[in-house]
């Protein structure tokens, strides 16, 4: 049998998705289910003085209207409201009291027999407020910037490293310098599926909850702690997630509201948010950055400074790694990095695809491009001149780093060699053509996880872990790993996820699921294999009576002696000896910290972009792009390519289109819908190409994978901006690059 790992297998959940059978959170039903409709605050800061609910309550079909005045008493301490991705601070509690913390805050839940009645009744609720002055503009509040508070979350997100050398002096002395201020405003995840929770109220008061989440156990923990319910009374199920991109890393407020209503009314309840309400929780924080580079005439970068100020809410300190990347990419001896926060009257920001990375790296990579231009050096040559095999922040070697090969293969596929370095030198009719490139980087991490492997009485392998598949391909790659580990035909392997009853796995984020859950699946299958081997040894006339574990291997649903392929026992036969019962094993995989701590671990990419800019209208089109990725072992080239393509589309979308526009007079996002919050559409995307360069890594995890969820986006925005510079001679440091900035 040839291994499945490394093969372009079509998604195992593909047929369910193309036939409409895949069910998402709002697609489960329960008898007599009620519908909740959320009312959002119209002001950004102040107090509710009165909520007039009488008219709504009189409407036939309305069951109850929940506000802060009639909600049940709930957990008192902040810690009960902390989820696995909670930043330091005091988590938002829906319906806590009359205080308004941000515009769009959920303040009332109308519950009715039908969706339409709940929606209509919500229009009958009138809210009186007492308004306070609010602050929502980052750029007007930079003077309030301060260091982020530290907490548990800082374990995973390291603060900026200490300065090295003497930046000021080295920068001063550098014959070639660049300095730029980079700005981008808030962005919202906007997965296609809106957040929803269907809470099924079981006869005994237990809850079965279908929730949109990147971690069913995270939602389970949240509900059980907030509502003081035993874990065993709360089951969260989430087999399909209609995109999330980080938005599902924290339980969203519809979960709280649906559970509250179900428990109070002792009936099943569904609460779905509207698209407008998808702009009323976490987002990518607006950030202002300053990047300075100083270099010698031969292109050696001596001095780097990167400062960033991001926004957060008044109640939590969300922070991300924005400024550390330069120390991982370039070996400059004199560096200084700072990162500070400004609390505003908005909701707490939330990890959004490549959080921090796609904020900081593009700013850095635009300045590197500018430096290359000033030096009269090719941008790839400049990067090669300043190539490092070590992460200078940690002063550790990379466990593997084939970025050089990304530059080479990417440039070749793109045809970089024929680029005229002069800005405005290339044309296609009346449009200006520009070619730009940039580097991408993201951490390759692994966490602990558990999985269970079961050989059923029919000889099928069933593997489970409470992870998620938000479109990433988890179902498929785990099936491949399980099939290979026990030598099973893939048709006989089923992998299930998204159920809090399953063995625990961490939230699916940060590109660590393939490594984390993949390793757990592997050890669970190995443990099952060992158990089956022991059972086979005890069988009558066993060919393995004297064999050791090292002497056998698994293929074609058999255990075989390595030395004698005819000495084989089928797995079906072994399970048949188990008295009509399945054979199962559960195992935990832990990262090998002792080994891993000796190395820096990261995935790298090189992005190449061609743009065409219409000089009269300032419109930018990305006509083609190539991304070369060094991502360790590629488990499934088909789904891997989709992840990178998806990241590239996000990068184009971010560079040219995405921006949540706030009217600071109201402290409210004004373009809170998909017609006005622009994301890339089909016609915006032309030829995209992906290269995976060979990269072997024995350190990152037993599978040698590095995770691909974020790396596709990281390099793109700078590559687009650099291409725009090459086309037009204009260096636009404020994203998105909309046409007004080019005219």
């Amino acid at each position: 049998m040839t291994p499945y790992i490394g093969k372009s297998i079509s998604r195992v959940d593909g047929v369910a998705k193309v036939t409409g059978k895949a069910k998402y959170a709002a697609e489960y039903f329960a008898p007599d289910m009620l519908y909740g409709w959320v009312i959002s605050s119209a002001i950004a800061k102040g107090k509710i003085t009165r909520i007039h609910t009488e008219a709504a309550l009189q409407l036939p079909g309305v069951v109850q209207v929940f506000t802060h005045e009639n909600r049940p008493s709930l957990a008192w301490f902040d810690v009960n409201y902390k989820d696995q991705d909670a930043p330091p601070g005091s988590p938002f509690r829906p319906l806590r009291d009359a205080t308004i913390l941000y515009s769009g805050q959920p303040i009332t839940l109308v519950v009715a027999e039908t969706l339409e009645v709940a929606r209509f009744a919500a229009t009958l609720v009138q809210v009186d407020y007492e308004e306070d002055d609010h602050e929502t503009a980052l750029e007007h509040n930079l003077h309030r910037a301060r260091e982020p508070k530290s907490g548990v979350a800082s374990l995973l997100k390291s603060p900026p490293p200490k300065p090295r050398g003497d930046f000021e002096k080295a920068f001063e002395a550098a014959p070639f310098q660049t300095t730029g201020q980079h700005i981008h405003s808030v962005e919202h995840h906007n997965p296609m599926e809106m957040f929803a929770s269907t809470v099924v109220y079981e006869k005994d008061g237990k809850l079965t909850i279908y929730d949109k989440t990147q971690g069913a156990p995270n939602s389970q923990m949240y509900v059980s702690q907030v509502f003081n319910m035993p874990f065993s009374d709360v089951r969260v199920i989430s087999p399909y997630v209609g995109g999330a991109f980080g938005s599902g890393l924290r339980p969203q407020y519809q979960l709280f509201l649906a559970v509250l209503a179900a428990r109070e009314l002792k009936r099943s309840v569904r609460v779905s948010l509207t698209r407008q309400q998808m702009f009323t929780f976490g987002h990518r924080p607006a950030t202002v950055q300053n990047v300075s580079l100083g270099a010698t005439a031969d292109g050696t970068i001596d001095a780097i400074r990167h400062d960033a100020i991001g926004e957060t809410s008044r109640f939590e300190d969300y922070f991300e790694i924005v400024v550390n990347w330069a120390g991982m990419l370039y070996p400059a001896p004199h560096v200084k990095f700072t990162y500070n926060l400004v609390p505003l009257d908005t909701f707490t920001p939330l990890d959004m695809r490549a959080p921090g990375g796609v904020t900081g790296v593009p700013a850095l990579e635009m300045e590197v491009d500018e430096l290359a231009h000033k030096l009269g050096m090719d941008p790839i040559e400049l990067r090669l001149k300043n190539y490092t095999e070590r992460d200078m922040n940690e002063d550790l070697p990379y466990s593997s780093k084939e970025l050089r090969e990304c530059f080479r293969q990417g440039a070749e596929r793109f045809g970089w060699a024929s680029r005229n370095p002069e800005p405005r030198s290339m044309r296609n009719g009346h449009t200006l053509v520009g070619w730009g490139m940039a580097t991408g980087i993201w951490d390759a991490t692994q966490g602990p996880a558990r999985a269970e492997a079961v050989l059923t009485v029919n000889g099928k392998l069933r593997v489970t872990s409470a992870t998620a598949d938000i479109g990433t391909g988890t179902y498929t790659i785990m099936t491949q790993i399980a099939a290979d580990t026990l030598g099973m035909p893939i048709e006989d392997v089923i992998f299930r996820l998204g159920d809090s009853n399953m063995p625990l796995a961490p939230i699916e984020g940060g590109s660590w699921t393939a490594a984390t859950v993949g390793s757990a699946v592997k050890v669970a299958c190995e443990a099952l294999g060992k158990k089956l081997f022991k059972m086979a040894q005890k069988m009558k006339d066993s060919p393995f009576a004297d064999a050791k574990w090292e002497d056998v291997w698994f293929s074609d649903a058999h255990i075989l002696l390595k030395t004698n392929p005819y000495a084989a026992v089928s797995l079906l036969e072994i399970v048949g000896q188990n008295g009509g019962r399945a054979v199962s094993e559960t195992a935990t995989s832990l990262p090998n910290m002792l080994e891993q701590r000796k190395y820096a671990r990261a995935v790298h990419s090189a992005a190449f972009v061609e743009v065409e800019v219409d000089e009269d209208f300032g419109t930018v089109r990305v006509t083609r792009a190539v991304t070369a990725v060094a991502g360790g072992r590629i488990l499934n080239p088909k789904t891997a390519r989709s992840q990178i393509i998806g990241g590239m589309v996000w990068g184009i979308s971010k560079a040219l289109e995405e921006e949540s526009v706030m009217d600071h007079q109201f402290g409210r996002f004004m373009n809170h819908n998909l017609a006005e919050y622009h994301v890339a559409v089909n016609a915006d995307i032309q030829d995209l190409d992906v290269i995976f360069v060979d990269e072997t890594d024995t350190i990152v995890n037993p599978l040698g994978v590095k995770g691909l969820g974020e790396i596709g986006i990281v390099g793109m925005p700078a590559a687009v901006a650099n291409a725009v510079f090459h086309a037009t001679g204009k260096r636009i440091r404020s994203l998105p690059i909309t046409l007004d900035k080019l005219l």
Binding site: F29, E116, G243
Partner: protein, 175 residues
């Protein structure tokens, strides 16, 4: 966010919920009899009343295409259509595209080309592509890109979506 009405208006509106009426919808060749108020959209009728949840809601505003279904062979946004308006039409949803025990060629092509990630926009993309083919206007890759731009895919599967549709339409890759 919410709309607030003055107290007088509320008094007028409160007792006057729209009356439910018997309606008949023909979906995927099956006739369904429902009691629906006129304000129920075709999308909500499919999802909440008939439990045909293959048709997705991504915005409820006609801005994303996730709710695309075929009405008499034409693609429409079912969120912008009231169910009562479609009594005399033949409605096809993703659940009704495939011949028995098989897949529609577009469904096969979507699986083959990995033309999705999360799958949430997928039923709308596929129904929209059927509509596109019925319209007979798309001749090139660029036509497909343009005429499929009413269907957002936040996962960014566009290149693969185009590949899948192109293949079924027999349009050359570099046209």
């Amino acid at each position: 966010m919410q709309t607030t009405l003055s107290p007088e208006t509320r008094a007028d509106l409160a007792p006057s919920l729209p009356q439910k009426q018997a309606i008949k919808l023909t979906i995927n060749g099956t006739v369904h009899h429902l009691e629906l108020a006129p304000w129920t959209t075709l999308l909500d009728a499919l999802r909440e009343y008939l439990h045909l949840t293959g048709t997705k809601k991504g915005c409820d505003h006609g801005q994303c295409g996730a709710c695309t279904v075929l009405v008499d062979g034409k693609r429409i946004n079912s969120c912008l259509t009231l169910a009562v308006m479609k009594e005399d039409s033949d409605i096809t949803t993703i659940e009704g595209l495939a011949a028995e025990n098989g897949l529609h060629p577009l469904q096969t092509a979507f699986v083959e080309h990995d033309a999705y990630q999360c799958g949430y926009c997928t039923p709308g993309q596929i129904c929209s592509a059927v509509g596109l083919m019925n319209e007979g206007q798309a001749k090139t890759i660029d036509d497909i890109r343009e005429l499929m731009s009413g269907n957002l895919c936040r996962c960014g599967a566009y290149p693969h979506i185009v590949d899948a549709i192109r293949e079924v339409m027999h349009i050359e890759p570099k046209s």
